[in-house]
């Protein structure tokens, strides 16, 4: 069971690196949504049997991450003229290398943390940390507002991977609360992105530097 | 009781004589016959009978100056022992009263000078005050040496101490403060090296410039006060540099009179052979006096 789990996690890692590599915003959105769907399936594989609450938790996650958020993103993308990310802070290839380094660091760090018996072999913790780091790298190196939102979503996905591990600990209400928060956060950010687009007529966050010391 | 009466008589009558002796010595040095020794008495009497000219810009301070100066100097005179006799007024801590009485005199003299509003009087009082700031520490170092030697803080026993305890360790400090006190005496009473009492150049005067505007009885009070001041400081100096007494009253008083007149002669000689110092160099002289006394003090407490 764990090697199927590991294979999915490896796919998630690959998606991370791909998201870092592309410069077209649309492809980033698509990568992130696939990743969201994949991590939605994780609890099915890791625990075999599934209680009703866990299932009820997974369905909205997949729906949200796979369908709703990408829809909002493409909708926001509609009236932005340039679809391509401007040259990121340290270029595309160095970002990917950085992503890879981040994954190696995640693996090293995960070894520090002792794993419970039933997750001994699984790659869950390293993947989660690697995805979080990828999210950070996307946030730090990209300039377009939408891409930064995508970086935040990748970060969120990383945390959700870990969340899936503890589905039993989180009662349904709290799980729904977390998802609701995520959705509302993205919704508010989209509103702000539209406002930025109208006010600054571009999504390049380097224009947003009037507030400084 | 006799001693106090003698003390008061000597304090009141003798001082002008000192001025007479000094002028006689200077005249003798210059090969002139000079004014008679009692000339100061005649001057005082003449001035007392003169009329008074007051400037319109002056206030009551102008008259208060000379009055307070004479009063303080006379009170200071009562604090110090003359000859072998004790001072009429003696108590522990009177040395500070003695020093600060001269401060009070200086306060009123300089204020009276400034009251006239003339540039020369301002200049004189500025110099007077500046040099006083330098001579005060020297005086206090000397008093501290005497206090250490005598172990008491009353002027009477302090000034009699040198005569009674002539141990070896005490001689060197006494000599040093003697020199320092002599310079302080010359500075305080405006004798030659610091100030020339007979000059006519207002720009160079110190004490004389302060009394330019005083006339008649006021001027006589000032002259008399400066004479008494010379006498008082001279007496203190005598106790340090000529520290021996006979122990019997009828011998000590004449000895004292001889000593004080000798001191006047010495001052006359100094005034004759030395010329005035430049105004810039006077502070160095006074700092020198302070160093003498200070060194004497350090020698003593080593």
């Amino acid at each position: 069971m764990t090697n199927l789990l590991n294979s999915i996690l490896v796919i998630v890692l690959m998606l991370n690196l791909f998201a870092l590599g592309t410069s077209r915003i649309v492809s980033v959105i698509r990568t992130v949504s696939i990743q969201g769907v994949l991590l939605g399936l994780l609890p099915l594989l890791s625990h075999g049997h599934l209680s009703l609450t866990a299932f009820l938790a997974i369905l909205p996650t997949i729906a949200l991450k796979g369908v709703v958020i990408p829809g909002m993103m493409t909708h926001a993308l509609r009236d932005v003229k340039i679809k391509r990310e401007v040259e990121p802070l340290i270029g595309l290839q160095p970002t990917v290398i950085l992503g890879a380094l981040g994954t190696v660091f995640a693996l090293l760090f995960a070894d520090q943390l002792p794993l419970a018996t039933q997750h001994a072999g699984a790659l869950i913790v390293p993947t989660a940390i690697a995805t979080v780091l990828t999210g950070f790298i996307l946030l730090i190196t990209r300039f377009k507002a939408l891409t930064q939102v995508m970086g935040y979503l990748v970060l969120e996905n990383g945390i959700f991977i870990f969340g899936m591990l503890l589905v039993e600990a989180m009662p349904l209400v709290v799980e729904m609360g977390v998802l609701l928060d995520l959705f509302v956060a993205i919704f508010v950010i989209c509103i702000i992105v539209n406002q930025i687009n109208q006010a600054f007529s571009s999504l390049d966050t380097r224009r947003l530097v009037s507030l400084k010391e | 009781m006799i001693d106090t009466v003698l003390h008061v008589v000597v304090l009141l009558l003798l001082p002008p004589l000192l001025l007479g002796v000094i002028t006689k010595i200077k005249a003798w040095f210059a090969g002139r016959v000079g004014a008679p020794v009692l000339q100061p008495y005649y001057d005082l009497a003449k001035l007392m009978r003169r009329g008074l000219v007051l400037s319109t810009t002056t206030t009551w301070m102008f008259r208060a100056g000379p009055i307070v100066t004479l009063a303080t100097v006379l009170l200071a005179g009562l604090l110090i022992p003359i000859g072998a006799a004790d001072a009429p007024v003696a108590f522990a801590g009177d040395l500070i009263l003695f020093a600060y009485l001269f401060g009070l005199a200086r306060f009123f003299t300089t204020s009276a000078a400034l009251d006239t509003g003339s540039a020369f009087e301002g200049m004189g009082s500025a110099r007077e005050v500046t040099f006083a700031c330098l001579s005060e520490p020297a005086l206090f170092f000397a008093l501290m040496v005497l206090a250490k030697i005598s172990g008491s803080i009353s002027l009477t026993s302090m000034l009699h101490a040198p005569a009674s305890t002539l141990s070896a360790g005490v001689a060197a400090p006494l000599v040093l403060i003697g020199i320092g006190l002599f310079i302080v005496l010359l500075a305080e009473t405006c004798r030659i090296p610091v100030d020339d009492p007979t000059t006519h150049l207002e720009l160079t005067m110190i004490h004389e410039a302060m009394v330019l505007d005083h006339s008649g009885p006021l001027f006589s009070v000032i002259l008399y006060a400066s004479a008494v001041k010379l006498f008082v400081l001279g007496t203190v100096l005598l106790h340090v540099i000529v520290p021996f007494e006979f122990g019997r009253a009828w011998l000590d008083w004449p000895l004292y009179v001889v000593e004080i007149l000798g001191l006047a002669a010495v001052i006359g000689v100094v005034e004759s052979i030395m010329a005035r110092l430049q105004m810039r160099h006077v502070p160095y002289l006074l700092v020198g006096a302070m160093l003498f006394c200070g060194f004497g003090f350090i020698l003593l407490i080593r």
Binding site: Q112, L113, P114, L115, A116, A128, V132, F136, L139, A145, Q148, Y152, L155, E156, G158, I159, F162, G163, L165, L166, E168, A169, M170, P171, V173, V174, G177, V178, L180, D181, V184, A185, V188, I189, I192, Q195, I196, A199, F200, T205, L208, S210, L211, E213 | -
Partner: protein
């Protein structure tokens, strides 16, 4: 009782959304605030009402924060009515709704004993306050909101990860995983150490971002600088207190797990770093609202420092939450008035506030004296007890640095405040229509009186509440 306190404001928010008229709607705010405060006081008076469900328990810590934020909200809501009347031209539907929703969600934070639920509530306060910051609809406020949302969301995501680490620490130790506070506390010694350390770091960074500890404070000057005065007060007094409550929960768990030394080292470092960074940015600051933001960063540093000093300084730290919240209210509301009157926040244009706005100017100056710890006021008592705590904990050097940083902050803040308050107002500033009215003045006076009261004679119930909270934190039930 918990459901009543939490859902009453949400209900009123819905009602406010329905009310059409722009003039009538703000009046719902003080009504909600007063009712909420009444409910809170009623609950505090009756201890049996504090347990409503497995996750909704009002422990002494929650009571304290609920009381502070509820009081602050009441005064701010009265001020908000005056403010919105003055800003008649802007629609205030979203403003009122968000404010009331905030009150509801904040109550949820104080009641929740499930760490996951608490995280959801704190994230909720972030989302609800975003539109408040965006109220002025200027380019600068868009930028401020963007930074607030992005940095805030990244930070709070790390807090979620930290919560999961905490859950996994219990899972790893073989117990059935549950994020309810009681369970975690009872099993605290058995939690696996590395997961607990990692969890604490993540929670510290996560909730530190919400509190505004340096270096995660970067969103604070922009958000507080661009938000209206009343929103600044709510943020500085309310949201930071909730985030500090979350920090207290984390500290409680780690303390119960015997990791006191590890935790205090990190907290002391973050506290002193925040105070240092805040004092650095406050010297020569020309915008008095940004200055207040840095003052908030500094006081969050003081709270973290107080917590790091451990047991001896706990009373001072909890008291500081109260005094800091109220004094920040005074400062932000009066700064809001001054900003409205002069139409600018730059100290070059703004001077002579005491003459131009006698009430607000004096209160702004009094607030400055209070926040920098001058004796007759509340913050002096709390900062002095934290200093005593530092000496008792044997950390003389920390006490020394603490005092030095307080001095630098005083000089930095004083220069700006005195430039604003003293002197004579320029001509065009004098003839702007804005004047001190009852609605915009009375709440500030009320808050100031409270701060002065705490400074001179801490009321018995408040002192008792803080003492219970200290005992609760130290583990005695």
């Amino acid at each position: 009782m918990a459901f009543l306190i939490i859902f009453f404001p949400l209900l009123m928010a819905a009602l406010a959304a329905a009310v059409p008229s722009n003039r009538l709607r703000p009046w719902l705010l003080p009504v909600t605030g007063a009712a909420h405060l009444a409910l809170t006081v009623f609950t505090l008076a009756r201890p049996d009402l504090t347990v409503s469900a497995a996750w909704l328990v009002l422990d002494p810590l929650g009571k304290l924060i609920l009381l502070v934020v509820s009081t602050l909200f009441l005064f701010c809501s009265v001020y908000a009515v005056g403010y919105l009347r003055n800003r008649g031209e802007r629609p205030n539907r979203i403003f009122c709704v968000c404010l009331m929703t905030f009150l509801g969600i904040m109550s949820l934070v104080t009641w929740s004993h499930h760490l996951g639920l608490m995280w959801v509530a704190i994230e909720g306060t972030t989302l609800v306050t975003a539109p408040l910051i965006f109220f002025n609809h200027t380019q600068r406020s868009i930028e401020a909101t963007w930074k607030y949302m992005l940095v805030g969301s990244v930070g709070i995501a790390l807090a979620l990860l930290g919560t999961f680490f905490l859950a996994y620490a219990a899972l790893h130790a073989g117990m059935e995983t549950s994020l309810v506070l009681e369970d975690l506390l009872t099993h605290a010694p058995q939690l696996s150490k590395p997961w607990l350390h990692a969890a604490f770091v993540l929670l510290l960074v996560g909730y530190g971002t919400k509190m505004g500890l340096a270096p995660m404070h970067t969103w604070k000057p922009d958000a507080y600088g661009e938000a209206p005065g009343v929103v600044g007060a709510i943020l500085a007094g309310g949201v930071t207190s909730c985030a500090f409550l979350a920090m207290l929960r984390t500290y409680h768990i780690c303390f119960a797990a015997g990791e006191g030394a590890y935790v205090s080292r990190l907290l002391l470092f973050m506290g002193l770093l925040s105070m240092a960074v805040a004092s650095l940015f406050m010297v020569g600051q020309r915008d008095f609202k940004r200055m207040l933001a840095y003052s908030s960063v500094e006081h969050m540093g003081i709270l973290a420092l107080g917590l790091g000093l451990g047991a001896p300084a706990l009373f001072g730290t909890l008291l500081h939450v109260v005094t800091n919240g109220l004094t920040k209210g005074v400062l932000f509301l009066s700064a809001g008035n001054i900003h409205r009157a002069y139409g600018s926040k730059n100290t070059e244009q703004v001077c002579g506030a005491m003459r131009r706005l006698p009430l607000s100017g004096t209160l702004f100056l009094a607030g400055f004296l209070a926040i920098t710890g001058s004796p007759p006021f509340g913050p002096f008592i709390s900062e002095f007890s934290i200093l005593n705590g530092a000496f008792d904990a044997g950390r003389m050097a920390t006490g020394g640095i603490f005092l030095f940083l307080l001095l630098v902050v005083f000089i930095g803040m004083g220069a700006t405040v005195l430039k604003v308050v003293q002197g004579r107002a320029s001509l065009e500033a004098r003839n702007t229509p804005y004047r001190d009215t009852f609605l915009t003045g009375a709440p500030i006076v009320g808050l100031m009186v409270l701060v002065l009261l705490i400074g001179l004679y801490i009321p018995a119930p408040l002192a008792g509440l803080i003492r219970d909270a200290v005992l609760f934190l130290e583990g005695q039930p």
